[in-house]
């Protein structure tokens, strides 16, 4: 939080060419504020994940700018990446531990995170005893402990069944409303994108650039019934059309 930033997360004319010559991203400009939830959809391999990896610092971009406070990022991976030898609670403590948060400060925050994702009564279980949805919840709770301003989600619910996915979407939205973070979410599911976001971006096939940008006209809180709303269907249809165009 040392640098005063205009935006919670900002990409300016960002481009990325990997050492092997793969041109992953081309001239991507995007800024996200706290209280905004932006979702990127696009064909497989279009560089959506690379965008998150650059934001988090896992990759270094080759052109343009990326401005974000790296100490205040929560990153939720495709896999829950829970440590199998740690209980749910111990897993949630991990990131705080790595950042040297003392146990006195940590305990109430861990409790809060676990309660927010509804895993308080499962805190002594090991990951292998959890369902896929519960694993993802634990992974969310782990990122919540540091109370980040920016949350990056790399297709976190892709492996879940439809019902668990919708339930987690609901929960993620209520987290978003409570914590008011800036969210950047990657997914293949148009319904998920529209349901969660304030904005949906469509990315082209490689090299990835943003080819469409939609404001989502629904306020929060959102009930899961908006999925059957005509406006929801219309927007989904437009995004779907753009995606068809984006495929090579």
């Amino acid at each position: 939080m040392s640098v005063t930033q205009e935006h919670a997360l900002e990409f300016k004319n960002l481009s990325m060419v990997f050492p092997d010559g793969t041109h992953a991203l081309d001239d991507v400009s995007l800024s996200i504020e706290r209280g905004e939830f932006v979702t990127v959809v696009g064909p497989s391999g279009c560089g959506k994940s690379t965008l998150l990896r650059i934001a988090s610092g896992l990759e270094t971009h080759t052109g343009g700018e990326c401005n974000v406070d790296r100490d205040s990022i929560g990153y939720v991976f495709q896999d829950a990446t829970l440590f199998p030898w740690r209980t749910v609670r111990k897993n949630v403590e991990l990131i705080a531990e790595l950042h040297g948060v003392g146990s006195a400060t940590m305990a109430p925050r861990v409790d809060e995170s676990l309660e927010l994702v509804g895993l308080k009564e499962h805190e002594v279980k090991y990951p292998r005893q959890l369902s896929g949805g519960m694993k993802m919840r634990a992974s969310l709770a782990r990122s919540l402990v540091l109370q980040p301003d920016v949350f990056l989600f790399d297709e976190p619910f892709g492996a879940l069944d439809e019902i668990s996915r919708e339930r987690l979407n609901d929960e993620l939205l209520s987290l978003f409303k409570t914590k008011n973070f800036a969210g950047l979410f990657i997914t293949h599911s148009i319904a998920e994108a529209v349901f969660l976001s304030t904005r949906v971006l469509v990315m082209s096939a490689r090299p990835g650039r943003i080819v469409a940008d939609y404001e989502v006209p629904f306020g929060y809180p959102r009930s899961h019934e908006i999925r059957y709303d005509a406006a929801f269907a219309e927007l989904s249809g437009k995004i779907s059309n753009d995606l068809r165009g984006a495929h090579p």
Partner: protein, 282 residues
């Protein structure tokens, strides 16, 4: 769901014992068969019957040297003394092999070039027949306790290094990225991620090495004969004085030691990683 899975499991539990017990009975049967049918006349004493082996070596406490014409003495007390000596050799050898093996594997996990530099020599150590080292060890270290420990280290170290290294290096990229994102140092990464993740693999290595250290202790006895006799020396001694019941007893005792060590490390491994590792817990 529960009724479907419980029944086959119970059957499987029974089956787990029926198999080994059956094979054991067959083995003992074959032993008697060898004595009574395959061995004829003067050869019969070479394969004494199991109940004689048990009664002479395990149920008799002590046979004094010279008693009843025995040139070596025998009985359980001699076996226990030999066992104690061999356990000391195996335990010390294994402990050193573990410490050294851990250190090597950890070093090798930290840089590719260290791994490349050391790996060929570990393979060489592993591939070289231990007998080839015997004159060398004897000349340099002597033919004593230390030499026997050395044999244990040489034959027990490879599985520890190989399995520990494999465990340390096969952590999924996602976990490493999680550590990277949160600014973990090499040390933190090792302690919080790589070592715990390597535990199941480390215990597989330990279990193999523990068994090998017993082999080393018994085999070492045959070459390095100074000091207190271990189980290997006893086998050799009884063989030379044709005390075959005693010799078989010493062989059985060596086997029991190997099995005990193997089971013990398996049990410790289960205690430590069984609560979380999917493959280890049933």
């Amino acid at each position: 769901m529960s009724t479907d899975t419980v029944e086959p499991k119970r059957f499987e539990g029974m089956g787990r014992f029926v198999g080994p017990v059956g094979v054991f009975v067959l083995f003992i049967g074959f032993w008697y068969f060898t004595h009574h049918v395959l061995m004829s006349g003067p050869k019969k004493p070479l394969v004494p019957v199991p109940h004689d082996v048990v009664s002479d070596s395990f149920l008799t406490w002590n046979i004094e040297r010279g008693a009843g014409g025995s040139r070596t003495g025998g009985g359980l007390v001699k076996l226990l003394e030999g066992l104690f000596e061999s356990v000391q050799v195996a335990a010390l050898g294994l402990a050193i092999a573990i410490a050294l093996g851990f250190a090597l594997a950890t070093l090798m996990s930290q840089a590719k070039w260290v791994q490349n530099a050391l790996w060929p020599f570990l393979i060489a150590l592993q591939a070289m027949p231990i007998l080839a080292f015997v004159p060398l060890i004897g000349t340099v270290i002597g033919f004593n306790f230390k030499a026997r420990v050395m044999v244990c280290i040489i034959i027990a170290i490879f599985p520890i290094v190989a399995n520990t290294l494999f465990g340390l290096l096969s952590v999924d990229r996602g976990y490493h990225e999680l550590m990277t994102l949160n600014g973990a140092s090499r040390m933190t990464r090792l302690v919080k991620l790589q070592f715990p993740a390597a535990m199941p693999s480390i215990f597989t290595g330990l279990q193999i090495s523990a068994g090998l250290s017993v082999v080393g202790a018994v085999v070492g006895d045959f070459f390095f004969r100074q000091g207190e006799p271990g189980l290997g020396r006893l086998i050799n001694l009884y063989q030379n004085s044709t005390a075959y019941e005693q010799m078989y007893g010493a062989v059985v005792m060596s086997a029991l030691l190997g099995i005990a060590v193997f089971v013990m490390f398996g049990w410790i491994g289960n205690r430590i990683v069984g609560s979380w590792h999917e493959k280890r817990s049933s």
